[in-house]
Amino acid sequence: MKTLLIGEYREGKLLDTTYELFGFARQLGAETAMLLVGSASQLPACSGPLYLADASQCGEYSPDLHKQLILDAVQKENPDYIVFIHSSYGWDLAPRVATRLKAAQVSEVIGLSNNAFEVGCCNAKMRRTVKPATGKAVITIQAGAFPVLQPGGTPQVQTVTATAAGNLTFVGYEPAEAKDVDLAKAEVIVTAGRGVGKKENVPVIQALAKALGGELGASRPVVDAGWVEHSHQVGTTGQSVSPKLYIACGVSGAIQHLAGMKKSDFIVAINKDKDAPIGEIADVLVVADVLQFVPALTAKVSA
C-alpha cells in the first residue's frame, strides 16, 4: 500500500502538522512518498521520495498550480491514498485533486477501522465509518487525530514544477488580530477555583493557560472575591464553554459551574479532594495540591 502525503508549508516554514501525515501512514502500514511546496532549506526528516516544488516559484497558496503538481506526482507514484491534513490548505486542495482523479474523498479522518475510515459528523457528536469505492482515494486527516511521527532519514528529493493558469491570485497574508478574552472560542481553558487560595496565586494558573496557548477561566467564588474579572467566569452566571481541553484547578464543581463547562471535549480536574463533585465529569482527576502541581505542569509543558 502506498500513500502520497501532501506536506504543509506556510510563511516560509515547514508546518509541524506535516509529521502527523507520517503518523497516519504508519497506522495504515503504508509506504510513503511526499509532495511539498516548500523550500530545500527546510526538508522534512524522512526517507523515501520527496517531490519538492519551490514555494517562492510556485506560491504557498496557488491551488490550481498545486493541484497540477499533485496530479503529476500521483502519476509517477500511483499511490492508493493521497493524504492531506484537514486544514485550510488541505480541505481547499483535496476536493480539486479528487475531482480531477474522479477518486473517492474521505474528509477529516480521525481513525482507522478495517479498510475503512472513521470520521466525525453532526458537530462531532456522532461518527461515521466511510469506505472509498474507488481504487485511489483522497483522504484528509483531522489535525491532532494521529500521532506526530518524525521518521528520520534523508528524503530522495526530486525537484518538480508546473505551470497552471488559474483565475485566482494570492495577494498576501494578514496577521491575526489581537483579541480580547473570548472563552467561547478558546481551545484550551485553565480555570482557577476557590482552591487557588488567594488572588496572588492566580498568576500560577494564568501561566499554565499561557503555556497551553489557552485562556484563563474562573469559577464564580473567585470572581465574586474579585480575584479575576467577570469576563473570565465560566458557569450559569458566566459563559458556557466547550473547549478541546478544560483544566479545572481547585474547582470543587458546583452544579452552576459544571453546567457551563461539561461539554468540553476533555476535562482535567486538579483537586486535593478526591471526592470533589468535579471528579464526576472529569476525564482525569489529579489528586494534588494545585499550587504544587500546576507550576510543575507548566514547567513541563513549557520545556
Binding site: 450559569t236 452566571t237 452544579i255 452552576q256 459544571l258 453546567a259 461539561k262 464526576e280
Partner: protein
C-alpha cells in the same frame, strides 16, 4: 383537520426563537434586577423592525399580515426568553389591532405604522381604574366636549408601558346619564400631550422590565379627531377586541411555563442524588409528565382560539378558555420546575425563581381568570337557556 404550522408560521416561530435566544435571554436576568430598561427598549425597536409589533395587521399599515397563529407562536417564543419583553409586544399588537378594527382611516394611517415600525417604543391601553378593575364599566374618568376639543379628567392604573408609550388607547365616560357601559367612548391620546401625566410606577413581584404606571388626566385637551369609533359605543366594540389579547397572554404564559420545564428537565438529567440521576425517580418523572401534558393541552387550546380568530369565527369563549387554562398550567409548571431544582431553584443563580414570579401575573392581567370563567360560563349557559 391538520395540526401543523405552515412553512411561514414555522419560519416566524423560528425567527422569534432564534432572536429571543440570542438577544432577549442574555439580558433577561439583568433586566429583572435592574432599573435600566435601555436594553429592553433597544430590543423592542429591533423586534419592531423585524415585524413583531403588527403580526395580524395589514401590510398597508406596516403590518406583517402573518395572522393570529403566527402571533401566538411568536409570543410563546419571546416569552420563553423574557416575559417583560413579551407582554410589551403583546400589548403593542393589540393596540394595532384595535385601531385597525375601529379606528378611522386617518387614525389607522397616523398611528399603526408608528407602532409597527418601532417609531413608538410601545403603545398602551388605559382602561383599568382604582375602582374599576374586573368591572371596567364602573370607570369614572370623563371626557367632556369642549367645542373644538375633548377634555379628559381622571386617572387610570396598571398601565403597561406608560413611560415610553407613543400613544394611549384611553376609555372615558362621555355620557354620565347613560346606563352602565353605554356612555363610554374610546380615544387615542398621544404620549407627551399636555395634561397627561405618567404617575408612579408599581413595584411588582415580577415582569420588572415592563413598566406599570398610574396615568393621570388633568384637564388633558385632545382634538375632536381623537375619538375612536362611535361616540358612547367605545366600551362594547373595543372590549370585544380585547379578547384577542387573551390569546397573547395565554401564549406568553405558555412560553414561561415551557422555559421553566425545559430548564428543570435538563437539570434533573444531570443532577445525581442517592447515586443516580434524579430523573430516574418517579416523583420527578410525574412532575415532567404532568407539566408537559398540561402545557401541550394549553398549546392546543391556544391554537384553536387563534385558528378561530384567524378564520373570522367567534372566538371569545375559546380565547378565555385558552387564557385561563394556559396561564394556570404555566403557573403550576413554574412551581413544579422550581421544586425540581430544590434549593437551587430558589436562588437567583438559576432562572426558575424569575419564571415563577414572572408567570404569576398571567392569571391576573388581561382579565383575571375568575372573569375568564364568568365569560366561559356565560357563553355556555347561553346555549342551554
Amino acid at each position: 383537520m391538520f395540526l401543523e404550522l405552515t412553512e411561514e408560521q414555522k419560519l416566524i416561530q423560528d425567527t422569534a426563537r432564534v432572536f429571543a435566544r440570542a438577544e432577549l435571554e442574555p439580558v433577561a436576568a439583568t433586566l429583572d434586577q435592574s432599573d435600566d430598561r435601555t436594553p429592553m427598549l433597544a430590543n423592542l425597536k429591533r423586534l419592531a423592525e423585524l415585524g413583531f409589533m403588527g403580526l395580524n395587521v395589514r401590510d398597508t399599515y406596516g403590518g406583517a399580515e402573518a395572522g393570529v397563529i403566527a402571533f401566538s407562536v411568536a409570543m410563546t417564543e419571546i416569552a420563553r426568553a423574557c416575559a417583560s419583553t413579551a407582554v410589551t409586544v403583546s400589548v403593542n399588537n393589540m393596540a394595532c389591532e384595535v385601531i385597525q378594527a375601529i379606528g378611522s382611516e386617518e387614525q389607522k394611517r397616523a398611528y399603526i405604522p408608528k407602532i409597527c415600525s418601532g417609531e413608538f417604543a410601545a403603545a398602551s391601553f388605559a382602561l383599568t381604574e382604582t375602582c374599576a378593575g374586573s368591572d371596567p364599566s364602573g370607570m369614572v374618568t370623563t371626557a367632556t366636549d369642549d367645542g373644538d376639543a375633548w377634555v379628559l379628567n381622571g386617572s387610570k392604573i396598571f398601565i403597561t408601558s406608560a413611560p415610553y408609550a407613543g400613544v394611549f388607547v384611553v376609555w372615558a365616560v362621555t355620557n354620565k346619564e347613560a346606563p352602565k357601559g353605554k356612555g363610554i367612548s374610546c380615544f387615542l391620546v398621544e404620549g407627551g400631550t399636555s395634561g397627561l401625566l405618567v404617575g408612579k410606577e408599581e413595584r411588582k413581584m415580577g415582569q420588572h422590565a415592563s413598566a406599570t404606571n398610574e396615568l393621570v388626566f388633568d384637564n388633558c385637551r385632545i382634538p375632536k379627531s381623537a375619538l375612536m369609533g362611535k361616540l358612547n359605543d367605545g366600551f362594547r366594540t373595543a372590549v370585544a377586541e380585547l379578547a384577542g389579547g387573551r390569546i397573547g397572554i395565554g401564549s406568553l404564559g405558555l412560553g414561561v411555563g415551557l422555559a421553566a420545564m425545559d430548564h428543570a428537565t435538563r437539570y434533573v438529567t444531570e443532577r445525581s442524588q442517592f447515586g443516580q440521576k434524579i430523573s430516574s425517580f418517579q416523583a420527578i418523572q410525574w412532575k415532567i409528565a404532568d407539566s408537559y401534558t398540561e402545557l401541550e393541552a394549553a398549546r392546543l387550546l391556544l391554537m384553536n382560539a387563534a385558528f378561530r380568530k384567524e378564520q373570522g369565527k367567534p372566538f371569545s369563549k375559546e380565547a378565555s378558555m385558552a387564557k385561563m387554562f394556559a396561564t394556570e398550567a404555566a403557573n403550576r409548571a413554574c412551581y413544579q420546575a422550581l421544586q425540581m431544582l430544590g434549593g437551587y431553584g430558589y436562588t437567583r443563580d438559576f432562572p426558575l425563581e424569575r419564571y415563577a414570579r414572572d408567570v404569576r401575573v398571567t392569571s391576573i392581567y388581561e382579565g383575571t381568570n375568575e372573569i375568564q370563567r364568568v365569560i366561559i360560563a356565560r357563553e355556555i349557559l347561553r346555549n342551554f337557556a
